[in-house]
Symmetry: C2
Subunit: 281 residues, 2 copies
Amino acid sequence: MSYLEKVRACARYRPENYLPFRISGEQVGQVRLGFLPQLARFEDTFCCVKDGLNLADNLHRFEQRTEAVGRVLEGLREEGLVPGWRDEAYPVTNSFGSPPFFDMERAAVPLFGVRGYGVHVNGFVGDGGDMRMWIGRRSMSKPTGPGKLDQMVAGGQPSGMSLRENMLKESAEEANIPRSLAEEAVSVGAISYLTERPEGLRHDVLFNFDLHLPEDFEPVNTDDEVDKFYLWPMDQIMEVIRETDDFKFNSALVIIDFLVRRGFICPDDPDYAAIIAGLHR
Amino acid sequence: MSYLEKVRACARYRPENYLPFRISGEQVGQVRLGFLPQLARFEDTFCCVKDGLNLADNLHRFEQRTEAVGRVLEGLREEGLVPGWRDEAYPVTNSFGSPPFFDMERAAVPLFGVRGYGVHVNGFVGDGGDMRMWIGRRSMSKPTGPGKLDQMVAGGQPSGMSLRENMLKESAEEANIPRSLAEEAVSVGAISYLTERPEGLRHDVLFNFDLHLPEDFEPVNTDDEVDKFYLWPMDQIMEVIRETDDFKFNSALVIIDFLVRRGFICPDDPDYAAIIAGLHR
């Protein structure tokens, strides 16, 4: 298998199966045709029109929208239509950093094809050919990607917290990284994708950090989200990325971005330009 | 001014002013409506159809196409319609690394909206807050961006040479970097843009390298393409990027990508996600 196949595996999207989800005329997501009838029942909150789904016009304010959509989602949850409920509020925006239209339960975000955001930390030791990276195996109780391999630290981006603060919080919870050490993490960019997953349409941006760790640091999970950590040489990580599906689909892209930025994937790979383009959708 | 404005300044494109340029049914570029009548005169080579411009169907082979289009371009050049002639062969492809359909004079590439490729080297000394970067001022005789600021090394990617080999060649010519030192450059990815410029439609991918230089290295231009080199602290470079148009339009994007990858532009910039998305088009 190739890196490009891994990138393309996160670009499964048939636009003909979706219609836009709009608030006050602005598109903020897209809803699968099959899911529309479920929402059409809630006429006080949603308005199904020929070319999409609109949030009801009389819902003007953040709190109003959050409450009305929350009520619908609670109902759908009882019918088993919102699996993996998290009790985490995610902001609904049409661009990161702009004021959110409302907050939505995290598990529903892919059902509305709304942009999701996360922070991932590549924790590594050594340099060049001697480099090794800490890899986490996700707990079997995680609602997405149970048992899959992951960055040392990875977490969704909730409402009301800065990316850096969230990175520091997740670093403490998932890997017991002292704040003073986590603060040395360098922001290195983001990857993004639009892809159909069992949980719905994922249209995410993952903000990435590189953290060069001392040789004697060992991550310890404190929130039961990671089962085990491994310190693997880059060669092994590169082979696992290329040859298996052991990594969570989006964590694989974060590693591929790392490999590009650090010169492990080189311009002599005929897919080089396509890989880079595929990491930014 | 903001970094995002600089990124958006390289995204000026009105699709309604262009029609696709195709070879054997595959789109490889796009031609400005106003330029089409100039090409329609050469019926042996081009076929103007309702929805675009096709290369004549009887031109099957690489050499045939290169020669036929070359003849047309020579004619247009005599009429003054291909300014900035370079005598450099650029490959016409629809994706980097795939076999080229034919070779085209570099100056004509933007007239056909064909993908162009380049290599840029960020040459820097020091680390973190102490970092400084070598900046070149382009010679006034350059056909594009005369007198503008640029990376220490920057060059177009011609046919028949690997990206790395071209980087080494340009490093020697533009900055007199010994091969043994240039070989330490690390490939770090690419940026891309689609934008209207005086020379035509630029749809380029720039492959970037970072080269950590020893403090006592000083670049010396050997091919008259660079007038002068400056070693500037990052603060100064960041201010010049934001506040002026002194950098060549695309070299500014290469620096912005460096600033993102190295944590100088941080996630607390509200434009962070939009800047990164804008560097990959």
